[in-house]
């Protein structure tokens, strides 16, 4: 779909473009912005976008927005990155922003950590080789992180070759995810049922592979973890 962008005056054009770049969660390439604002321009008379066509028009609008941002002393600009345009804070604010983000990052578990944690939660007691077989990747570091955060602990040794250590979840795990006991974990089957047949056709998620289950768990966990306070004396975050 496209809107009739040219019906707006230049100020409004800038504002629409600025809102578009603002609300996108990835850098927007000029090409795709152009497609949205003007539809398929290849079929149109390019002279209306003279002198240099649609993309040049958009580029000059972006320049004008950045001038406005500078004049009004905003601490961010639109920058070109990764083949697209997006907002970024100015470098002089970088330090304070990144130290804030780091603070926030310490509160989140990485996706790898959540994935591993989900496997341990559902299959405990479980050994590293088993975890790695399921995830398909080496998991030493992430297990270390989980041990450090006291979300998992060593619960014994397997009887298999090499007698690998077995891991299980801790009370900290239960507390972090607001569970009374391990029985409160959603059963995998329940999750599958929940994810079957969505109501709206456009949001069809067919749950076939384990991957999807993992992702669901991760999404859920992620949500809960973000609201949990950082653990004290933390060596390193996941």
């Amino acid at each position: 779909m496209s809107i009739n962008f040219l019906q707006y005056d230049r100020t409004e054009q800038r504002r629409i473009l600025e809102a578009l770049i603002f609300a996108a969660d990835e850098p927007l390439p000029l090409k795709s912005i152009a497609k949205f604002l003007f539809g398929d321009t290849s079929k149109q008379d390019q002279t209306i976008f003279a002198p240099n066509g649609v993309e040049a028009l958009l580029q000059s609008l972006i320049e004008e927005i950045n001038e406005e941002l500078e004049t009004s002393k905003r601490p961010y600009r639109i920058v070109e990155v990764g083949g697209g345009y997006q907002f970024a804070t100015l470098p002089e604010f970088g330090k304070i922003v990144s130290s804030y983000l780091q603070l926030k990052a310490a509160r989140r578990l990485s996706r790898a950590a959540l994935e591993t944690l989900a496997i341990i939660a559902y299959r405990q007691p479980v050994s590293k080789p088993e975890i790695e077989a399921i995830r398909g990747v080496r998991s030493d570091e992430v297990i270390q992180t989980l041990l450090q955060r006291e979300l998992i602990t060593i619960v014994g040794r397997a009887d298999t070759i090499g007698r690998p250590l077995l891991y299980g979840t801790t009370p900290v795990f239960l507390k972090t995810f607001g569970l009374n006991s391990l029985e409160d974990l959603p059963r995998l089957r329940e999750l599958e049922e929940l994810l079957q047949q969505p109501e709206e056709g456009e949001e069809v998620v067919t749950l076939v592979a384990t991957e999807d289950v993992k992702e669901t768990l991760e999404a859920q966990f992620q949500e809960r973890v973000t609201s949990v306070e950082p653990l004290p004396d933390e060596g390193s975050a996941g």
Binding site: D25, V79, G82, G83, A88, T89, S98, A105, R111, V137
Partner: protein, 237 residues
Amino acid sequence: MIYRIRLTNFEGPLDLLLYFIKRDKLNIYDIPIARITHEFLEYVRLMKMLNLEVVGDFLVTASMLLQIKARMLLPKPESEETEEEDPRTELVHRLLEYKRYKEAAEALAERHQQYRYYLYRSIPDPTPAQMVEPVYKNASLLDLLTALKRVLEKAENAASESNVHTVELPPVSVEAQAEFLLNEVKRHGEITFQQLVEGMERLVIIATFLALLELIKHQMVGVRQAAVFDDIIVYEP
């Protein structure tokens, strides 16, 4: 062929009863059970005819209505002193309880209408390195493989959309891709893997990926990312 009709917007038997009450301006505390049951059953018959999947829910309510109707027909106890509970009481309570949430839903709908177009800021990841001191860490092999998997899936989707099924040997070698990659990195200073392989075919993507691994090994390029599963940024070391 047998069709089942999905009424995704249908609110159910209580909603239907409230509809009757509203339509006929009935007193909710003095529902004419016989009349309403009759009409309700008409609906249920129709639903069966149309093979609506919600009919089960309506049958439950239908049997409740029939029970109330039967109880209403029973002769009242002789002593007028003992206050016999109206058989309709529970139904009235359920209707009122449901009505509360129906109204709350309307209020929510209004709020949604009002607020659904507040698009909240979300952060494009990774934050551009040249603007913000990044919290990057070096990317691991897993990160690289994840990026590759994502790119390949994208390429496959694109291929299946365009119905192209040509399977050929890579038109380029790993060496050639290494050269291409180095040039790109030199030109841009840094570039995401996603961009590097944009529009490439599956096999070329794999060749590029192998080239990337080689170049990393020889420390001719570096890779990093802001967080696990973010785009891999290839940069000039």
